[in-house]
Structures are given as C-alpha cells and as structure tokens.
C-alpha cells in the first residue's frame, strides 16, 4: 500500500508539469456547466447546456452543484467553466475582501442594473479573469407579492401605492424571511425609499424562510398574512396567481441572471457569446417565471422545461 501511495503521489506530481502546458482548453475539450441549487439556476444551467450541445459542443452537466460559494470557488478553480450568476449577488459577495474594489462601489450602484453589471463585469474580468455575457432583462430581486384579488380590490400594483396604503393605516401583515427583513438593502431600503415603515405587529418573520415558504403562508392566509416576501422571477407566483408590486425607484439590488465564463473558455470558443446572448435576451420576468413555474409548479424536469423553452423560441435546430 505504501508503495502504491508513493507511486501515485509521484505520478501526480509529475503530471503537474504536463498540466502546465495543457491548461488552456483544447478544441474538443468538453465545457462544464455548473449551477446553484435552486430551480431557476438549474433551469438556466440546462438552457446553457442544451444550447451549447445544439451548437455542437461537448458539454458536461454539473448543475445543482452547491451554494453560491461552491459554484464561485469551482469556477475560479476551473472545476466548472460556466454558471449562471447574478450581478446583485456578485456585488454584495465577491469583493468584500478587496478594499479598493469595495470602496469603488458607489451608493446606489447595486440598484442600478447597468452600473452594477458594469462594475461586476469589469471587476471579475480584471481580478479573476471571468467574463460576464450579456445579462438577461429579468430581475430576480427581492419583492413584495400580494394576491391578485387584494391588488384589484385596493388598486395597488406598485410600492408607491403600497406605501400610501400603509401610511393611511391600511391593514398589512407581511410574511418574510429574517435576512430580507434585516439586510440594510432589503426591507429597510424599501422603508427609506418609499417612506413607510411596518411595525413589529405587521411583520411575521420566519427565520431562514425562502419565498416558497412565505408565499405559502400568503396563499393559506395564515395569521392574516396578505403580503409576502418574494423573488421577482418565482415560478410559484404564477401558481398562486400573485401580483408582484413594482419597485419603480429601484430600492433593491438588481439580480439579473447572466452566464459567467472562465476567460480561457471564452477565448477558446468566442462564438459562445453569440449563441447564448440572444437566448438570455428573451428572459424577462414573465418568461422566467413561466419557466420556473413549469418546473416548480407543473413538476416538469428542468431538462424538459429548458428544451420546451428553447424549441418554442426557435433556438434549437
């Protein structure tokens, strides 16, 4: 056994040298696609996979890989070549430890779609050699959702109207996760931007809750909940027929799904951008909601949902 281990280590060490020459992907090397572990990420991962396969690339499927940090680490380490990322996530997570980068992010950058994309794309290219393709127009940000019935009864479709309603003493019970309730750029940002505040009695804070959970609370109407924390592109919003209140003043960071590639891969296959950009351009909130819903609500597999989407929009030949 000892001999075996030594031999293995020696071989491995010897191979490092060989690898030094072989680091850039050769033509024909498969592209590894990763994704985080929630529906939208998996579906977007599958969309990327099928689009690339359709274009004749060999692709390895590593979707559903892990949380944010796992995917990011894997991408930086070259274990995967691409995964769908969000500018909002990047801007609040990846440059914390780099003081100059952190400083250069101005107030309001995260709420501005273009500015935040420009910032993260340039930072990533400069610091990590990662290339952001064109972001989708969809915005998977924190949002407040209400039932359609409630929206129609009170004539409220955006946060301006909602703030007015609250300030006029309207009845509100909001179910939310703790993170959204306490992050400075979460609920407090809504307060300051739209000028309203909810009292403790008007909040039902579920620790660690996800939109699926808060929305279920809204759907069941438990504890008089009539507003729920949601993500902009939740599939469940369609299932429950909820209305997402618009955020016209951009109080929340913008989370636009964007494929992020290792630089080497894009340099080896520059035409990839031409394949994926048009597809991501189609993803607005309703499209992405529908796609997510077909998985989360209808129970289609992410593969089938992605294929159906691509076929419907004529991206497969």
């Amino acid at each position: 056994m000892k001999k075996f281990l030594t031999a293995l280590m020696l071989t491995a060490t010897a191979l490092f040298g060989a690898n030094a020459l072989a680091q850039a992907p050769n033509a024909g090397d498969p592209i590894v696609v990763g994704s985080k572990q929630f529906t939208e990420q998996i579906v977007l991962g599958k969309v990327i996979i099928q689009a690339l396969e359709n274009a004749g690339y060999e692709v390895i499927d590593r979707t559903n890989l892990g949380g944010t940090a796992v995917n990011r680490d894997a991408l930086e380490a070259g274990e995967i070549d691409v995964y769908p990322n969000y500018n909002g996530t990047a801007i609040s997570n990846w440059y914390r430890d780099i003081p100059w980068a952190q400083e250069a992010i101005g107030d309001g950058t995260s709420g501005d779609a273009y500015a935040s994309f420009a910032t993260v794309a340039s930072y990533d290219a400069a610091i990590y050699d990662l290339i952001w393709l064109r972001p989708a127009p969809a915005n998977n940000t924190y949002a407040l959702a209400v039932t359609r019935q409630w929206s129609e009864e009170n004539g409220i479709t955006d946060l301006v109207g909602f703030a007015e309603y609250v300030n006029n003493g309207g009845e509100v019970v909001l179910s939310t996760g703790d993170e959204f309730a306490q992050r400075p750029d979460g609920l407090p940002s809504f307060y300051t931007t739209y000028g309203f505040e909810l009292t403790e009695d008007q909040l039902i804070i579920i620790a660690g809750a996800t939109p699926a959970q808060t929305e279920q609370a809204l759907f069941e109407g438990a504890n008089g909940v009539n507003v729920a924390m949601a993500y902009g592109t939740d599939g469940a919003l369609l299932a429950y027929d909820f209305v997402v209140l618009d955020d016209p003043l951009g109080a929340q960071p913008v989370f636009q799904p964007t494929p992020v590639f290792r630089g080497e891969v894009i340099r080896a296959y520059p035409e990839i951008a031409g394949i994926l950009n048009p597809i991501f351009a189609v993803f607005d909130n309703p499209t992405l909601q529908g796609l997510n819903a077909s998985v989360e609500v209808d129970g289609l597999s992410a593969d089938d949902a992605a294929r159906a989407f691509l076929e419907e929009n004529g991206f497969l030949n």
């Binding site: 003081p99 703790d178 993170e179 306490q182 579920i206 620790a207 660690g208």
Partner: protein, 369 residues
C-alpha cells in the same frame, strides 16, 4: 493527613488561583479606529456598522451603534455594573475581561471547598459545580466583546463579524428551549415506553418496539425535520416533533437494556420478600438500571442539541441560524460563531448531564466502576 483536604487551605488556594487567572486572562484590544476616537466627547454620530467592545465590570455592555445612534445594551450579564462607554473610549485600550469567568469558577471552587463537608460532597458538589460552569458559559455567550474580538482576529478583512439579527444569548436560549422542551417530552415518552414493554403483561411487544426503534435510527435527522415541516408547518413545533422522534431511540433502547439487565435473582429475592410489582420497579429495577438509562438520556439530549441546530432550516430558531445564514450568504464569521457556540452548548450539556448521571447513580453501583 492530606492538607489540601482542609477547607481553609483549599479555598485559599482556589482564591489565589482566581486572582492569578483574572490577571492573566485579560485581553486588551487597542482602540485604533480614528473615527471612533474622534467621536468620543462629541455628540456627533458614530459610523454605522461599528461594534464597540467596552471595558466594564459587566460582561453585558456591548454598544450597538449600527444604523441608529442609540446606545443599546445587548447580551446577558452575570455582573451588573455598567460603565460609561465614552469613559472607556478615552483609554487607549479596551479590555475584555475573560478573567472574570475563570475567577468566578475558582471562587466557586473556593466556596465549595469551604462550605461543604465530605459527607455532602457526593450530591451537592457536582451539581453546584455543574451549575457554576453553566453560568460561566452562559455569561460567555453574553460576552459579545470577546466574540467580536475573536472573530476580528480571525477574519480581519471581513465586514461582517457578529450575527446581526440576534444576540448569541438569545439564539442559545432558543436552542436550549428547543432542547429542553423536546427532552422533557422525549424522556417521558421514552421511559414510559421502555418500562411498559419490559413489564410481563406487555412484554410480547418488546421485539416489535426494539425493531421499530432500531430501524428508526436509520432515518437521517435532516430528513425527519424536513418531512415534519410540510406536514406540521414551520417554526418551533416541527422541530420539536422531529427532536422527539429522533431522541426517543437511545432512551427506549437503553431503558430496555438497563431493565432487562437487572439480575433476575435480585427481582426474585424482592418478590420473595413480598414487594409489589410497583415497589420492585421503583426500588429495585430502576435504581439498578439507572446508570444505563441515564446514559441513554445523555446521548439523547446531546443528539437533540445537534438536531436542533438543523432546525434553522425549518425556522425553529437557535444556534443553527447564524450557521445556516452564514453558509447561505458566505459570511464565514457567522458560521464559525454559530458553530463554536453550538459545539460549546453540546459539550456543556453533555458535561452537566454527566454530573447528573453521576449523582443519580446509586452509590453502591459506583463502587465497582
């Protein structure tokens, strides 16, 4: 004659140790933030997101100046004096007095050495000591300057250090609440079940119960909690139900093993002396099985501490929260904070139950051990 046995000498030794420990275990944190220093003496606002550890006789004064400019007192204190924050800032260093804990413990030992004669040692001393350690660790949770200092040292560049939505003490309280409520229920159910199936009238159910109990152990804890959530809902109770289901197994198993292991000759002798079945159970069987049963209880409670941490994923609160949030948002200091606190809590409960086990095992049974 063993002179350390003399109460006066022993307590004197401990008290001396207390002073030494107090002197040694004091950590000084330099106040380097210029903004902070300038703010002293002004009424102007502090920068948001600043945590200010402050020297005090108390371990509970942590001043939270994020977002608002109020001075808020967080945490849970053992000693009650509060010093003015500004006064503390005028000094060059902020001192975190870890020594208080060591000193408290040493003084407690001194009190024990002074106050209790050997006769009571067996019962009182381990329990008082366990209680003392509990108070110390609990104060430790409340000593946020320490945690802040530690995390700052480990993660110098991280903008987030302490968990921002809740203090460690209240998280630990939630955790403890989960563990205590579930343990009380678990122990009652488990003991009843274990005792029931070892009675002659219900003995035929014993193999069934141990079979179910053993295969129940193969269900992953996370899965139990997860399955309970959609059925019962989110929050406290699904976690409790899961904790009960999972914690039941060691107690039932050990109760059965313990009671079955009682020497039949002993029971026979008791019967021969005219004891009723109830008397045999309470005076013979349970005392003789107590060490094994209590070992099961201990295992069960420790498992519950671990499972309760997973409760964060179904919104039950507790020390799993900073871990889960930290992992979600990749804020490592939160993860470490929650992990250390949860580990500490588990070890603490294990220790305390170990003392309880020791105290509650009949003396005659300890001799051969």
């Amino acid at each position: 004659m063993n002179w350390t046995r003399v109460p006066g000498v022993a307590s004197l030794l401990w008290a001396t140790l207390a002073v030494v420990l107090f002197a040694l275990a004091t950590v000084s944190v330099p106040v380097t933030d210029p903004e902070l220093r300038e703010a002293v003496g002004e009424t102007a606002s502090f920068a948001p997101d600043t945590w200010l550890p402050v020297f005090s006789l108390s371990n509970r004064t942590v001043i939270d100046m994020r977002a608002t400019n109020d001075v808020r007192v967080l945490g849970f204190g053992l000693f009650d004096a509060v010093t003015d924050a500004r006064e503390a800032l005028e000094a060059d260093t902020v001192t975190v007095t870890l020594g208080w804990f060591a000193a408290f413990m040493a003084l407690l030992e001194a009190a024990l050495a002074w106050g209790f004669r050997q006769r009571e040692e067996k019962l009182v001393r381990p329990l008082v000591r366990a209680a003392g350690i509990f108070i110390v660790i609990w104060s430790f949770y409340g000593h946020e300057p320490f945690w802040d200092w530690m995390l700052r040292g480990l993660f110098p560049t991280s903008p987030d250090l302490l968990y921002n939505t809740n203090t460690l003490v209240s998280l630990a309280s939630q955790h403890l609440e989960l563990v205590i409520v579930s343990s009380i229920l678990t122990i009652s159910i488990g003991l009843t079940l274990g005792i029931a199936v070892t009675r002659s009238t219900l003995r035929e159910f014993l193999p069934l119960v141990s079979d179910v109990v053993n295969s129940g152990q193969t269900i992953p804890t996370l899965a139990i909690i997860a399955i309970m959530a959609p059925i019962i809902g989110f929050g406290f109770w699904p976690a409790i139900v899961a904790l009960i289901l999972y914690g039941l197994l060691p107690i039932v198993r050990n109760t059965i093993v313990g009671l079955e292991g009682v020497d039949p000759a002993m029971i026979d002798a008791a019967k021969g002396m005219g004891m009723t079945p109830a008397q045999i159970l309470w005076q013979i069987e349970i005392p003789n099985a107590s060490s094994i049963i209590l070992a099961g209880v201990r295992t069960s409670v420790v498992i519950n501490v671990g499972t309760a941490a997973l409760g964060a994923y179904v919104g039950s609160g507790g020390l799993g929260n900073p871990i889960a949030s930290g992992l979600n948002q990749s804020i490592n200091p939160w993860v470490l904070l929650g992990a250390l606190a949860a580990a500490l809590l588990a070890i603490l409960l294990d220790y305390i139950l170990g003392r309880v086990e020791y105290v509650m095992t009949p003396k005659g049974l300890q001799i051969e051990q």
